[in-house]
Each structure stands twice: as C-alpha cells, then as structure tokens.
Symmetry: none
Subunit: 262 residues, 2 copies
C-alpha cells in the first residue's frame, strides 16, 4: 500500500490514537493479571487469556506506533511518506494470535464440562485462524476484485463463529442465572459490533474514499475497534465471572473450603 | 554466510515471522508464569522451566529481529545486504540454553521419583548440549563436506535423546492414566516433528536451493519450528499436568491440606 501525504492534524490523530491503544492495552494487561486473584480458580483461565490478548496487542501497537512514526517525514508543514514502508501486517499477526484467544476466553469463563468445551474451542479456534489468514491476501491487494473475493471467503468462517456462539453456546448456557444470561448477551453483542467494524474498514478502499482520509479512518477505526474488542470485552468477561460466582454463592476466601469438600 | 538480495515480499515475510515469534514467546511467557498457580505444587517446576524456555527465546528473537532489520537496506524497491552481518549464532546460543530445559520439563511434569528422574535428566541434558554444540561448526561452514560431517556427529546425541524418551521414559510411565498416556504420546510426536525440522533446514544448502529462497525458507521454518517446539510443547506440558491432577483428584485449593497430611 503506497502511503498518501497527510496534514499535520491527520498524522497526529493516528499517532495519538495508536499511543492511546498502547496505554489501554498495557493498562488492561495489569488489570487482568492482578484481578484474576479476585476470582475463584475455575474462572482464572479466562482472565489469563484476557491478559495474553491485551499483552500481545500492546506489543503490536508499540510496533505499529514505531512503524507509523518511521513511515512519514515532516516536510514544509505536511507529513510526506519517508520511503520506509508502514507495516500493516502487525495487525494481522496480532489477530492471528489474539482472535482465537478471544473466542476461547468466552468459552473458558462459562466453565463448561470438558466434553462440551473441548470441541467448541477447537472449532472456534480453527475458524478464527482461517478467517484471519484468508483476510490478509485481500488486505494487501490493491485490486478490488481480489479484495472482494478474499473478503467473501473470510466471511464464511466469521459467519460460522457467530453461529457457534449464538446457537450452540446459547443451548449450553440456557440454564445460567438471569444476570449471567444478560451479561453474556451483552458480551456477544459487543463482539458482533466490534468485529463487524473490521469488514467495513476492509471495504473502505472499494468505497472510493479519498486516500488520506481512508488511511486515517482505517487506523483510527481499527484502534477503537481493537480497544473495545480486547479491553472492553475482557472487562465483560470479568463481569460474567463475578456474576457467576455470585450466583453460586462462591467467594475467593471460601474457595479452599468449597473445593476441599466438593 | 553471505546474504542474498531479497524482494520486498521476501524480506517482509521473515520480518513479520520474527515479530510473530517475539509475540508468541512473550505471550507464552506470561501464560506459563501465571498459569503455574493453576497447578498443584509438584507440577509447577515444569511450568517454571517452560517459562524460562520462552522467555529466553523471546529475548533471542528480539535480537534476531533487530539483526535482520540491520542486515538489509531498502534500495530501489529491493532489500540489499547492508554490510552489517546477520547474526545467526543467536539461534544456537538460544538452543544451547533452551533445548536441555525442554527435555527437562517433560521429565519434570511426570513427577517421577528422584531416583528415576535425576539420572534421566542428566543424560538428556548432556546429550542435548552435545547435539547443539556439534551442529554449530557445520551450520557456519560453507563447505558441504564439513556440514555433512558435523551434521552426522550431531545426529548421534539426537538419536540417543529419542531413545531415552521413547524407550526408557515409556517404561517409567507405563502405569499412567489413559488420558495422560495419550497427551504424553502427542507431546513426544510434537517433539519429534518439530525437532525433525531442524536437520532438514540444516541440509537445505546441500540440496542446492536458490540463495534468496533458502534464506527465507530457513528463517521462516526455524521460526515456526521454534514456536511449536517451545510454546506449543509448553502448552502440551500444561495439559499433561492438568490431566495428571485430574487423575489424582487433586486441586490447587486442597493442595495445602493434602500436602500437610502427606
């Protein structure tokens, strides 16, 4: 992708948004690492996964930030491409690692039996990897037909993930407490809303948006979507775990006693 | 090893693969450090070793990434050698430290008696060090005969490691629970498949692969093999520990009580 010339404001908007993402990711990382001890043992794997997601994303935003800074030079009041390529692949590498973890943490927090959990995690992980891997050839292509074909292929596993989460997971959690049901519904809507942004961003070049605005909109949009889909989603997972503990009358303090007599 | 000129895509593929390895290693590091508390005390040493392996590897991938970036300059759309040498020795230094730990973590997770465990760890560690140390003189040689001789010498301790793990370890774990046996078998297969890649990569120059493609294939192949052999293998070790805990009816919460009465 050849970079456009950006105004001072355009360059800075992306620059500051990337820095906001770094702060949000590492801030959430610290929260998830520490806050897992507020939960009983069976809910901690979900928080561990949340912390991996935002830790890995924080690393990638650090790289994207540095790459963005190196890709432009301030010349006569505008930011011109410096010749150093801007490496957008960091996002795809990040998603390849974090998207399977995001679906896994939703399964993990439900603490289903191994027989239900195992196959569901396997299906979702494979679908997530296929979704990301088939999206990338389209993303790096400047040909709209190629973009369209890979975009379509990538939508199939996406639809499958939604089906598993809504239909199959719905059945497996039908007897959960009302508050848990409510939070679970909200979390799935958050996932749908944030993940739904990525295909829109992906389609932007097809929609004929002007190069400078498109680049800025894409970077800002991806950053906001990532913060909501990773940090926000992780906080929802934490809330679900707490609601489930409450419904069970469990507490960290009596975790020892409860499990010992189980 | 003199470096070839690489296309934009070739350079970036290695670049992104090295960054993926950094993210995978440090992500796994966080996981192993935190997740050891999900296990009873006797399985934690295995997770501690896993975290050392990926922590050390993450450091080395960071160095390799920087070395790769410094070794090339973007000139007229292609990546030409910059004159700064690419330091491949990082990989061997890494293996010298991590390979003995990898075999040790498999022994550690089995929680064998000290009488069985001690000599087995000693034999495997010595064999692993000899394997790496004798591979290196071949790796840095551009003479195919020298490569062949050192490659052969290095294969002897490799074969010995496989013998100890398959035959001797098989006897020591014959009475484990079926799920543990299954996971243990899978882990040994993962080890064989990933470790088996290194000699193939090593032989690539002998096979007369074109310089640019060989360099890219080698770096990408080593990175994938390392991610599977370190992170993936570590996750298998974690799964074995959990399966063993389940077979024993043990939980973290009653670990204290159980150990106190033991």
């Amino acid at each position: 992708m050849s970079l456009p010339t950006l105004s001072h404001g355009e360059f800075e908007l992306v620059y500051n948004m990337l820095s906001l993402a770094i702060a949000a990711m590492f801030g959430s990382f610290v929260f998830f690492v520490i806050a897992r001890n507020q939960l009983t043992h069976k809910y901690r794997p979900a928080l561990i996964m949340s912390s991996l997601v935002v830790g890995i994303a924080g690393y990638h935003y650090w790289r994207i930030f540095n790459s963005w800074e190196a890709a432009f030079t301030l010349t006569e009041g505008v930011y011109k491409p410096s010749g150093t390529p801007f490496n957008d692949a960091y996002r795809y590498v990040d998603w390849l690692l974090t998207v399977p973890l995001l679906v896994a943490e939703l399964i993990a927090v439900l603490a289903l039996t191994r027989a239900v959990r195992g196959p569901m995690m396997a299906k979702l992980t494979v679908a997530a990897v296929i979704m990301i891997a088939t999206g990338y050839p389209g993303e790096i292509s400047s040909d709209n037909t190629t973009r369209g074909i890979w975009g379509f292929v990538s939508t199939i596993p996406f639809a499958y993930i939604l089906y598993v989460l809504w239909v199959q997971l719905g059945k497996a959690t039908a007897d959960a407490a009302p508050r848990v049901q409510k939070l679970l519904g909200d979390t799935k809507l958050l996932l749908l809303a944030t993940w739904g942004f990525y295909p829109i961003a992906y389609l932007m070049p097809q929609l004929g948006v002007e190069a400078g605005s498109a680049t800025v909109a894409l970077q800002v949009g991806y950053s906001i979507a990532d913060i909501l889909a990773k940090c926000g989603y992780g906080f929802m997972i934490y809330a679900i775990a707490q609601a489930k503990m409450e419904a069970e009358g469990a507490s960290v303090s009596n975790d020892v006693a409860a499990e010992a007599t189980a």
